[in-house]
Symmetry: C2
Subunit: 236 residues, 2 copies
DNA sequence: CCGCAAACATGATTTTTGTCATGTTTAATC
DNA sequence: GATTAAACATGACAAAAATCATGTTTGCGG
Protein backbone atom coordinates (compact mmCIF):
# COMPACT_ATOMS: atom_id res chain seq x y z
CA UNK A 1 0.00 0.00 0.00
CA UNK A 2 1.14 3.55 -0.72
CA UNK A 3 2.04 5.89 2.09
CA UNK A 4 -0.21 8.88 2.45
CA UNK A 5 2.80 10.91 3.45
CA UNK A 6 6.31 9.70 3.07
CA UNK A 7 8.63 10.44 6.01
CA UNK A 8 11.42 8.92 3.97
CA UNK A 9 12.01 5.29 4.95
CA UNK A 10 12.09 3.38 8.20
CA UNK A 11 15.71 2.53 7.45
CA UNK A 12 16.68 6.19 7.40
CA UNK A 13 14.12 7.34 9.97
CA UNK A 14 15.46 9.68 12.62
CA UNK A 15 13.78 7.43 15.20
CA UNK A 16 15.21 4.20 13.78
CA UNK A 17 17.50 3.52 16.73
CA UNK A 18 15.42 5.45 19.17
CA UNK A 19 12.54 3.01 19.38
CA UNK A 20 11.70 -0.57 20.20
CA UNK A 21 12.94 -1.36 16.68
CA UNK A 22 16.51 -0.43 17.61
CA UNK A 23 17.65 -4.06 17.62
CA UNK A 24 15.44 -5.25 14.77
CA UNK A 25 17.26 -6.78 11.83
CA UNK A 26 17.66 -4.58 8.77
CA UNK A 27 15.74 -6.95 6.48
CA UNK A 28 12.69 -6.77 8.76
CA UNK A 29 12.88 -3.01 9.06
CA UNK A 30 12.79 -2.97 5.28
CA UNK A 31 9.75 -5.27 5.28
CA UNK A 32 7.99 -2.96 7.73
CA UNK A 33 8.92 0.02 5.62
CA UNK A 34 7.21 -1.53 2.58
CA UNK A 35 3.94 -1.86 4.47
CA UNK A 36 3.84 1.22 6.64
CA UNK A 37 1.26 3.93 6.16
CA UNK A 38 2.35 7.35 7.29
CA UNK A 39 -0.07 9.98 8.42
CA UNK A 40 -0.38 13.22 10.31
CA UNK A 41 -2.71 14.15 13.13
CA UNK A 42 -3.56 17.66 14.16
CA UNK A 43 -3.47 18.70 17.79
CA UNK A 44 -6.49 17.22 19.56
CA UNK A 45 -7.17 14.59 16.88
CA UNK A 46 -7.98 11.04 17.86
CA UNK A 47 -5.71 8.23 16.65
CA UNK A 48 -7.84 5.46 18.08
CA UNK A 49 -10.59 5.05 20.59
CA UNK A 50 -10.88 2.87 23.69
CA UNK A 51 -12.93 -0.19 22.81
CA UNK A 52 -11.98 -0.31 19.12
CA UNK A 53 -10.14 -3.26 17.62
CA UNK A 54 -6.47 -2.76 16.79
CA UNK A 55 -5.28 -3.41 13.25
CA UNK A 56 -1.66 -2.55 13.81
CA UNK A 57 0.71 -0.41 15.82
CA UNK A 58 1.68 3.24 15.50
CA UNK A 59 5.21 4.53 15.50
CA UNK A 60 5.64 8.21 16.30
CA UNK A 61 7.90 10.05 13.93
CA UNK A 62 7.32 13.49 15.36
CA UNK A 63 5.01 15.00 17.96
CA UNK A 64 3.37 14.08 21.22
CA UNK A 65 0.44 11.83 22.14
CA UNK A 66 -1.52 11.12 25.31
CA UNK A 67 -3.03 7.72 26.08
CA UNK A 68 -6.03 7.86 28.35
CA UNK A 69 -8.70 5.76 29.96
CA UNK A 70 -12.26 6.82 30.37
CA UNK A 71 -13.29 6.24 34.00
CA UNK A 72 -16.76 4.86 34.71
CA UNK A 73 -18.07 8.35 35.35
CA UNK A 74 -16.55 9.64 32.14
CA UNK A 75 -13.54 11.27 33.77
CA UNK A 76 -10.32 11.02 31.81
CA UNK A 77 -7.30 9.33 33.34
CA UNK A 78 -4.09 9.85 31.40
CA UNK A 79 -2.03 6.69 31.66
CA UNK A 80 0.91 7.36 29.37
CA UNK A 81 2.60 10.22 27.56
CA UNK A 82 4.29 9.38 24.28
CA UNK A 83 6.87 11.10 22.14
CA UNK A 84 8.83 10.66 18.92
CA UNK A 85 10.32 7.17 18.75
CA UNK A 86 7.59 5.67 20.93
CA UNK A 87 5.32 2.95 19.67
CA UNK A 88 1.69 2.63 20.70
CA UNK A 89 -1.14 0.18 20.21
CA UNK A 90 0.97 -2.90 20.91
CA UNK A 91 -0.61 -3.69 24.28
CA UNK A 92 -4.06 -4.46 22.86
CA UNK A 93 -2.59 -6.24 19.84
CA UNK A 94 -0.47 -8.59 21.94
CA UNK A 95 -3.30 -9.22 24.40
CA UNK A 96 -5.64 -10.00 21.53
CA UNK A 97 -7.85 -7.39 23.04
CA UNK A 98 -9.60 -4.16 22.15
CA UNK A 99 -7.83 -0.92 22.88
CA UNK A 100 -7.91 -0.24 26.60
CA UNK A 101 -7.26 3.44 26.11
CA UNK A 102 -7.74 6.24 23.60
CA UNK A 103 -4.86 8.02 21.90
CA UNK A 104 -5.05 11.76 21.22
CA UNK A 105 -2.41 14.02 19.69
CA UNK A 106 -1.15 16.68 22.10
CA UNK A 107 0.28 18.64 19.19
CA UNK A 108 0.58 18.15 15.44
CA UNK A 109 2.03 14.68 15.11
CA UNK A 110 3.42 12.43 12.40
CA UNK A 111 2.97 8.71 12.86
CA UNK A 112 3.54 5.61 10.78
CA UNK A 113 0.98 2.84 10.99
CA UNK A 114 2.40 -0.69 10.85
CA UNK A 115 -0.26 -3.28 9.95
CA UNK A 116 -0.81 -6.08 12.42
CA UNK A 117 0.19 -8.88 10.04
CA UNK A 118 3.65 -7.61 9.21
CA UNK A 119 4.28 -6.57 12.81
CA UNK A 120 3.40 -10.03 14.14
CA UNK A 121 5.35 -11.73 11.36
CA UNK A 122 8.47 -9.75 12.13
CA UNK A 123 7.99 -10.31 15.85
CA UNK A 124 7.85 -14.06 15.20
CA UNK A 125 11.06 -14.09 13.22
CA UNK A 126 13.20 -11.51 14.91
CA UNK A 127 14.21 -12.54 18.41
CA UNK A 128 15.89 -9.20 19.02
CA UNK A 129 12.67 -7.33 18.42
CA UNK A 130 10.68 -9.79 20.53
CA UNK A 131 13.01 -9.26 23.47
CA UNK A 132 12.91 -5.51 23.05
CA UNK A 133 9.13 -5.77 23.05
CA UNK A 134 9.17 -7.81 26.25
CA UNK A 135 11.52 -5.31 27.81
CA UNK A 136 9.25 -2.45 26.80
CA UNK A 137 6.20 -4.20 28.25
CA UNK A 138 8.09 -5.04 31.44
CA UNK A 139 9.24 -1.46 31.85
CA UNK A 140 5.74 -0.12 31.31
CA UNK A 141 4.38 -2.64 33.79
CA UNK A 142 6.91 -1.57 36.35
CA UNK A 143 6.11 2.10 35.86
CA UNK A 144 2.40 1.38 36.19
CA UNK A 145 2.93 -0.55 39.41
CA UNK A 146 5.08 2.16 40.95
CA UNK A 147 2.51 4.77 39.98
CA UNK A 148 -0.16 2.58 41.53
CA UNK A 149 1.68 2.56 44.83
CA UNK A 150 2.17 6.31 44.79
CA UNK A 151 -1.46 6.88 43.90
CA UNK A 152 -2.48 4.75 46.86
CA UNK A 153 -0.05 6.18 49.36
CA UNK A 154 1.10 9.68 48.52
CA UNK A 155 -0.77 12.92 49.04
CA UNK A 156 -1.67 15.02 46.04
CA UNK A 157 0.99 17.62 46.66
CA UNK A 158 3.75 15.04 46.25
CA UNK A 159 2.05 13.40 43.31
CA UNK A 160 1.82 16.71 41.49
CA UNK A 161 5.51 17.37 42.06
CA UNK A 162 6.29 13.88 40.79
CA UNK A 163 4.09 14.39 37.78
CA UNK A 164 5.87 17.60 36.82
CA UNK A 165 9.18 15.77 37.04
CA UNK A 166 7.73 12.93 35.02
CA UNK A 167 6.64 15.34 32.31
CA UNK A 168 10.16 16.72 32.28
CA UNK A 169 11.60 13.18 32.00
CA UNK A 170 9.31 12.47 29.08
CA UNK A 171 9.40 15.66 27.06
CA UNK A 172 12.37 17.49 28.48
CA UNK A 173 12.91 21.22 28.62
CA UNK A 174 12.84 23.90 25.97
CA UNK A 175 16.08 25.63 24.97
CA UNK A 176 16.06 27.71 28.14
CA UNK A 177 16.59 24.53 30.16
CA UNK A 178 13.73 25.25 32.52
CA UNK A 179 10.41 25.40 30.63
CA UNK A 180 8.60 22.09 30.17
CA UNK A 181 8.54 21.26 26.47
CA UNK A 182 4.80 20.55 26.21
CA UNK A 183 1.57 22.49 26.66
CA UNK A 184 -0.90 20.73 28.90
CA UNK A 185 -4.07 22.23 30.35
CA UNK A 186 -4.52 22.25 34.12
CA UNK A 187 -7.24 19.68 33.59
CA UNK A 188 -4.85 17.37 31.73
CA UNK A 189 -2.28 17.69 34.47
CA UNK A 190 -5.01 16.86 37.00
CA UNK A 191 -5.97 13.80 34.94
CA UNK A 192 -2.37 12.71 34.99
CA UNK A 193 -2.02 13.21 38.75
CA UNK A 194 -5.40 11.68 39.46
CA UNK A 195 -7.09 14.58 41.19
CA UNK A 196 -9.60 17.39 40.69
CA UNK A 197 -8.70 20.24 38.34
CA UNK A 198 -9.19 22.84 41.09
CA UNK A 199 -6.78 21.05 43.39
CA UNK A 200 -4.15 21.06 40.67
CA UNK A 201 -4.65 24.77 39.99
CA UNK A 202 -4.43 25.55 43.69
CA UNK A 203 -1.32 23.49 44.25
CA UNK A 204 0.43 24.92 41.20
CA UNK A 205 -0.21 28.37 42.73
CA UNK A 206 1.26 27.13 45.99
CA UNK A 207 4.29 25.75 44.16
CA UNK A 208 4.70 29.15 42.53
CA UNK A 209 4.52 30.90 45.90
CA UNK A 210 7.12 28.49 47.24
CA UNK A 211 9.38 29.21 44.26
CA UNK A 212 9.24 25.70 42.85
CA UNK A 213 7.62 26.62 39.54
CA UNK A 214 6.98 29.65 37.39
CA UNK A 215 3.69 29.87 35.55
CA UNK A 216 2.94 31.70 32.32
CA UNK A 217 -0.32 30.35 30.96
CA UNK A 218 0.35 26.80 29.81
CA UNK A 219 4.08 27.39 29.94
CA UNK A 220 5.45 25.85 33.10
CA UNK A 221 8.98 26.43 34.27
CA UNK A 222 10.17 24.07 36.95
CA UNK A 223 12.98 24.22 39.47
CA UNK A 224 13.89 20.59 39.58
CA UNK A 225 15.89 20.44 42.81
CA UNK A 226 13.08 22.09 44.77
CA UNK A 227 10.46 19.76 43.33
CA UNK A 228 12.61 16.75 44.13
CA UNK A 229 12.51 17.68 47.80
CA UNK A 230 8.75 17.91 47.54
CA UNK A 231 8.43 14.37 46.21
CA UNK A 232 10.51 13.01 49.05
CA UNK A 233 8.15 14.61 51.56
CA UNK A 234 10.96 16.71 52.97
CA UNK A 235 9.50 20.13 52.29
CA UNK A 236 9.35 21.25 55.90
CA UNK B 1 21.27 -29.88 39.41
CA UNK B 2 19.19 -32.04 41.67
CA UNK B 3 15.78 -30.90 42.79
CA UNK B 4 15.41 -30.33 46.50
CA UNK B 5 11.90 -31.66 46.27
CA UNK B 6 10.59 -33.40 43.23
CA UNK B 7 7.08 -32.43 42.20
CA UNK B 8 7.35 -35.04 39.47
CA UNK B 9 8.30 -33.46 36.15
CA UNK B 10 7.31 -30.31 34.31
CA UNK B 11 5.97 -32.53 31.54
CA UNK B 12 3.51 -34.20 33.88
CA UNK B 13 2.95 -31.17 36.12
CA UNK B 14 -0.66 -30.44 36.97
CA UNK B 15 0.01 -26.83 35.97
CA UNK B 16 1.65 -27.72 32.67
CA UNK B 17 -1.17 -26.34 30.50
CA UNK B 18 -2.34 -23.90 33.09
CA UNK B 19 0.55 -21.50 32.86
CA UNK B 20 2.44 -19.32 30.43
CA UNK B 21 4.18 -22.50 29.33
CA UNK B 22 0.96 -23.93 27.86
CA UNK B 23 2.12 -23.38 24.29
CA UNK B 24 5.80 -24.13 24.88
CA UNK B 25 7.22 -26.96 22.83
CA UNK B 26 7.67 -30.30 24.56
CA UNK B 27 11.43 -30.42 24.02
CA UNK B 28 11.85 -27.08 25.79
CA UNK B 29 9.60 -28.09 28.65
CA UNK B 30 11.89 -31.07 29.04
CA UNK B 31 14.95 -28.79 29.02
CA UNK B 32 13.38 -26.63 31.72
CA UNK B 33 12.54 -29.73 33.73
CA UNK B 34 16.19 -30.77 33.75
CA UNK B 35 17.26 -27.49 35.28
CA UNK B 36 14.42 -26.65 37.63
CA UNK B 37 14.87 -26.53 41.38
CA UNK B 38 11.76 -27.25 43.37
CA UNK B 39 11.20 -25.90 46.82
CA UNK B 40 8.58 -25.21 49.43
CA UNK B 41 7.84 -22.04 51.35
CA UNK B 42 5.92 -21.85 54.57
CA UNK B 43 3.19 -19.31 55.04
CA UNK B 44 4.75 -15.88 55.53
CA UNK B 45 8.11 -16.87 54.05
CA UNK B 46 9.88 -14.56 51.63
CA UNK B 47 10.66 -15.84 48.12
CA UNK B 48 12.54 -12.74 47.08
CA UNK B 49 12.94 -9.19 48.20
CA UNK B 50 12.40 -5.90 46.40
CA UNK B 51 15.77 -4.59 45.23
CA UNK B 52 17.44 -7.99 44.87
CA UNK B 53 18.74 -9.25 41.54
CA UNK B 54 16.74 -11.97 39.80
CA UNK B 55 18.45 -15.21 38.85
CA UNK B 56 15.45 -16.91 37.33
CA UNK B 57 11.70 -17.18 37.47
CA UNK B 58 9.42 -19.06 39.85
CA UNK B 59 6.56 -21.27 38.75
CA UNK B 60 3.91 -21.97 41.37
CA UNK B 61 2.99 -25.64 41.69
CA UNK B 62 0.71 -25.23 44.65
CA UNK B 63 -0.19 -22.42 47.02
CA UNK B 64 -0.66 -18.67 46.99
CA UNK B 65 1.74 -15.74 46.88
CA UNK B 66 1.44 -11.98 47.22
CA UNK B 67 3.64 -9.54 45.36
CA UNK B 68 4.05 -6.21 47.09
CA UNK B 69 5.81 -2.89 46.88
CA UNK B 70 7.20 -1.03 49.81
CA UNK B 71 5.97 2.58 49.69
CA UNK B 72 8.41 5.37 50.60
CA UNK B 73 7.01 5.49 54.12
CA UNK B 74 7.32 1.72 54.47
CA UNK B 75 3.67 0.96 53.87
CA UNK B 76 2.99 -2.20 51.89
CA UNK B 77 1.09 -2.01 48.62
CA UNK B 78 0.02 -5.38 47.28
CA UNK B 79 0.24 -5.26 43.51
CA UNK B 80 -0.53 -8.83 42.47
CA UNK B 81 -1.97 -12.03 43.88
CA UNK B 82 -0.63 -15.27 42.46
CA UNK B 83 -1.82 -18.85 42.48
CA UNK B 84 -0.87 -22.30 41.20
CA UNK B 85 0.12 -22.13 37.55
CA UNK B 86 1.27 -18.53 37.80
CA UNK B 87 4.84 -17.51 37.10
CA UNK B 88 6.61 -14.72 38.92
CA UNK B 89 9.90 -12.89 38.70
CA UNK B 90 9.80 -12.46 34.91
CA UNK B 91 9.17 -8.72 34.97
CA UNK B 92 12.51 -7.84 36.53
CA UNK B 93 14.34 -10.46 34.47
CA UNK B 94 13.01 -9.16 31.16
CA UNK B 95 13.59 -5.53 32.15
CA UNK B 96 17.15 -6.37 33.14
CA UNK B 97 16.26 -4.84 36.44
CA UNK B 98 16.19 -5.64 40.13
CA UNK B 99 12.98 -6.95 41.62
CA UNK B 100 10.47 -4.15 41.90
CA UNK B 101 8.45 -6.01 44.48
CA UNK B 102 8.78 -8.61 47.21
CA UNK B 103 7.12 -12.02 47.04
CA UNK B 104 5.69 -13.62 50.17
CA UNK B 105 3.81 -16.91 50.53
CA UNK B 106 0.22 -16.45 51.72
CA UNK B 107 0.06 -20.12 52.65
CA UNK B 108 2.37 -23.11 52.39
CA UNK B 109 3.49 -23.05 48.78
CA UNK B 110 5.43 -25.27 46.37
CA UNK B 111 7.35 -23.51 43.63
CA UNK B 112 9.86 -24.53 40.98
CA UNK B 113 12.72 -22.18 40.28
CA UNK B 114 13.77 -21.94 36.63
CA UNK B 115 17.27 -20.49 36.24
CA UNK B 116 17.60 -17.37 34.13
CA UNK B 117 19.84 -18.92 31.48
CA UNK B 118 17.55 -21.76 30.50
CA UNK B 119 14.50 -19.53 30.67
CA UNK B 120 16.03 -16.97 28.32
CA UNK B 121 17.36 -19.67 26.01
CA UNK B 122 13.97 -21.26 25.67
CA UNK B 123 12.33 -17.88 25.21
CA UNK B 124 14.76 -17.16 22.37
CA UNK B 125 13.99 -20.40 20.58
CA UNK B 126 10.32 -20.95 21.23
CA UNK B 127 8.15 -18.36 19.53
CA UNK B 128 5.04 -19.76 21.14
CA UNK B 129 6.39 -19.16 24.61
CA UNK B 130 7.63 -15.69 23.65
CA UNK B 131 4.18 -14.70 22.45
CA UNK B 132 2.54 -16.13 25.54
CA UNK B 133 4.98 -14.11 27.59
CA UNK B 134 4.12 -10.94 25.68
CA UNK B 135 0.44 -11.68 26.15
CA UNK B 136 0.96 -12.19 29.87
CA UNK B 137 2.87 -8.92 30.18
CA UNK B 138 0.24 -7.09 28.13
CA UNK B 139 -2.56 -8.46 30.26
CA UNK B 140 -0.78 -7.49 33.46
CA UNK B 141 -0.11 -4.03 32.07
CA UNK B 142 -3.75 -3.63 31.20
CA UNK B 143 -4.88 -4.73 34.65
CA UNK B 144 -2.43 -2.32 36.27
CA UNK B 145 -3.67 0.58 34.15
CA UNK B 146 -7.32 -0.15 34.91
CA UNK B 147 -6.52 -0.38 38.60
CA UNK B 148 -4.67 2.90 38.33
CA UNK B 149 -7.76 4.61 36.95
CA UNK B 150 -9.97 3.17 39.66
CA UNK B 151 -7.51 4.15 42.34
CA UNK B 152 -7.54 7.70 41.02
CA UNK B 153 -11.26 8.02 40.51
CA UNK B 154 -13.29 5.67 42.68
CA UNK B 155 -14.14 6.06 46.35
CA UNK B 156 -12.88 3.49 48.79
CA UNK B 157 -16.23 1.80 49.21
CA UNK B 158 -16.34 0.84 45.55
CA UNK B 159 -12.69 -0.12 45.49
CA UNK B 160 -13.17 -2.48 48.42
CA UNK B 161 -16.12 -4.13 46.70
CA UNK B 162 -14.04 -4.49 43.53
CA UNK B 163 -11.15 -5.90 45.51
CA UNK B 164 -13.34 -8.58 47.09
CA UNK B 165 -14.56 -9.56 43.62
CA UNK B 166 -10.98 -9.54 42.38
CA UNK B 167 -9.94 -11.88 45.17
CA UNK B 168 -12.79 -14.15 44.17
CA UNK B 169 -11.68 -14.03 40.50
CA UNK B 170 -8.16 -14.97 41.53
CA UNK B 171 -8.67 -17.62 44.19
CA UNK B 172 -12.31 -18.57 43.75
CA UNK B 173 -14.64 -19.90 46.40
CA UNK B 174 -14.41 -22.80 48.79
CA UNK B 175 -16.69 -25.80 48.32
CA UNK B 176 -19.65 -23.88 49.72
CA UNK B 177 -19.51 -21.56 46.71
CA UNK B 178 -19.55 -18.43 48.81
CA UNK B 179 -16.47 -18.28 51.06
CA UNK B 180 -13.36 -16.69 49.56
CA UNK B 181 -10.71 -19.35 49.22
CA UNK B 182 -7.90 -17.42 50.90
CA UNK B 183 -7.17 -15.98 54.33
CA UNK B 184 -6.07 -12.38 54.23
CA UNK B 185 -5.78 -10.04 57.20
CA UNK B 186 -7.76 -6.80 57.18
CA UNK B 187 -4.46 -5.04 56.81
CA UNK B 188 -3.62 -7.03 53.69
CA UNK B 189 -7.00 -6.27 52.18
CA UNK B 190 -6.39 -2.59 52.97
CA UNK B 191 -3.00 -2.78 51.26
CA UNK B 192 -4.66 -4.28 48.23
CA UNK B 193 -7.38 -1.61 48.13
CA UNK B 194 -4.94 1.19 48.87
CA UNK B 195 -6.45 2.55 52.07
CA UNK B 196 -6.05 2.56 55.84
CA UNK B 197 -6.67 -0.66 57.75
CA UNK B 198 -9.35 0.99 59.91
CA UNK B 199 -11.26 2.14 56.85
CA UNK B 200 -11.28 -1.39 55.53
CA UNK B 201 -12.48 -2.82 58.83
CA UNK B 202 -15.22 -0.21 59.05
CA UNK B 203 -16.40 -0.75 55.49
CA UNK B 204 -16.42 -4.51 55.85
CA UNK B 205 -18.70 -4.04 58.85
CA UNK B 206 -20.91 -1.80 56.71
CA UNK B 207 -20.97 -4.40 53.97
CA UNK B 208 -22.01 -6.95 56.55
CA UNK B 209 -24.82 -4.72 57.78
CA UNK B 210 -25.95 -4.24 54.21
CA UNK B 211 -25.96 -8.01 53.67
CA UNK B 212 -23.20 -7.98 51.06
CA UNK B 213 -20.70 -10.07 53.00
CA UNK B 214 -20.60 -12.39 56.00
CA UNK B 215 -17.60 -12.24 58.29
CA UNK B 216 -16.15 -15.00 60.43
CA UNK B 217 -12.64 -14.00 61.41
CA UNK B 218 -10.55 -14.16 58.26
CA UNK B 219 -13.22 -16.16 56.49
CA UNK B 220 -15.15 -13.87 54.21
CA UNK B 221 -18.31 -14.95 52.45
CA UNK B 222 -19.41 -12.68 49.64
CA UNK B 223 -22.72 -12.17 47.89
CA UNK B 224 -21.45 -11.43 44.45
CA UNK B 225 -24.52 -9.84 42.89
CA UNK B 226 -24.81 -7.32 45.72
CA UNK B 227 -21.14 -6.42 45.54
CA UNK B 228 -21.38 -5.97 41.80
CA UNK B 229 -23.98 -3.26 42.31
CA UNK B 230 -21.65 -1.60 44.77
CA UNK B 231 -18.83 -1.41 42.24
CA UNK B 232 -21.10 0.21 39.69
CA UNK B 233 -21.95 2.93 42.20
CA UNK B 234 -25.61 1.98 42.14
CA UNK B 235 -26.04 1.14 45.81
CA UNK B 236 -28.72 3.74 46.51
C1' DC C 1 -11.20 44.88 17.56
C1' DC C 2 -15.21 42.61 19.68
C1' DG C 3 -17.84 38.94 21.63
C1' DC C 4 -17.78 34.70 23.57
C1' DA C 5 -16.57 30.29 25.34
C1' DA C 6 -13.15 27.87 27.53
C1' DA C 7 -9.64 27.84 30.71
C1' DC C 8 -7.85 29.59 34.89
C1' DA C 9 -8.25 31.17 39.61
C1' DT C 10 -9.86 31.44 44.36
C1' DG C 11 -12.94 31.32 48.38
C1' DA C 12 -16.39 28.74 51.10
C1' DT C 13 -18.23 24.51 52.29
C1' DT C 14 -18.95 19.58 52.51
C1' DT C 15 -17.45 15.04 52.05
C1' DT C 16 -14.22 11.66 52.36
C1' DT C 17 -10.63 9.57 54.43
C1' DG C 18 -6.89 9.07 57.69
C1' DT C 19 -5.24 9.18 62.39
C1' DC C 20 -5.40 8.55 67.21
C1' DA C 21 -7.17 6.41 71.23
C1' DT C 22 -9.03 2.68 73.47
C1' DG C 23 -11.10 -1.62 74.17
C1' DT C 24 -12.13 -6.46 72.68
C1' DT C 25 -11.32 -10.70 70.46
C1' DT C 26 -8.44 -14.13 68.50
C1' DA C 27 -4.81 -17.17 67.96
C1' DA C 28 -0.24 -18.76 68.80
C1' DT C 29 3.20 -20.38 72.37
C1' DC C 30 4.82 -22.30 76.34
C1' DG D 1 -5.22 -23.75 79.67
C1' DA D 2 -2.82 -19.36 81.01
C1' DT D 3 -0.13 -15.65 78.85
C1' DT D 4 0.47 -12.45 75.56
C1' DA D 5 0.94 -10.18 71.28
C1' DA D 6 -1.35 -9.42 67.21
C1' DA D 7 -5.47 -8.64 64.88
C1' DC D 8 -9.98 -6.75 64.95
C1' DA D 9 -13.36 -3.25 66.11
C1' DT D 10 -15.26 1.30 67.01
C1' DG D 11 -15.68 6.12 68.38
C1' DA D 12 -13.84 10.84 68.22
C1' DC D 13 -11.35 13.92 65.82
C1' DA D 14 -8.29 16.02 62.28
C1' DA D 15 -6.70 16.38 57.79
C1' DA D 16 -7.10 16.02 52.99
C1' DA D 17 -9.47 16.61 49.05
C1' DA D 18 -13.67 17.27 46.29
C1' DT D 19 -17.37 20.12 45.18
C1' DC D 20 -19.82 24.29 44.52
C1' DA D 21 -19.98 29.06 43.57
C1' DT D 22 -18.31 32.96 41.49
C1' DG D 23 -15.06 35.85 39.19
C1' DT D 24 -11.27 36.75 36.01
C1' DT D 25 -8.34 35.97 32.22
C1' DT D 26 -7.18 34.11 27.86
C1' DG D 27 -7.45 32.98 23.24
C1' DC D 28 -10.11 32.23 19.22
C1' DG D 29 -13.44 33.17 15.27
C1' DG D 30 -15.89 36.60 13.05
Amino acid sequence: MQSQHDYSTCQSCAQRFNSVFCKAREEYVKAINDQKICNTFKKGQLLFNEGAYPFGVYCINEGKIKLSHQGDDGKEQIIRLLKAGDVLGYRALLSGDRYGASAVALEDTKVCFIPKEIFITVLKNDTGLAFEMMKLLSDELHKAEVKLTHLAQKPIRERLAETLLFIKETYGFEEDGITLNVRLSREEIANLVGTATESTIRLLSDFKKDGMVELDGKKIKILQHKLLLQTANLQD
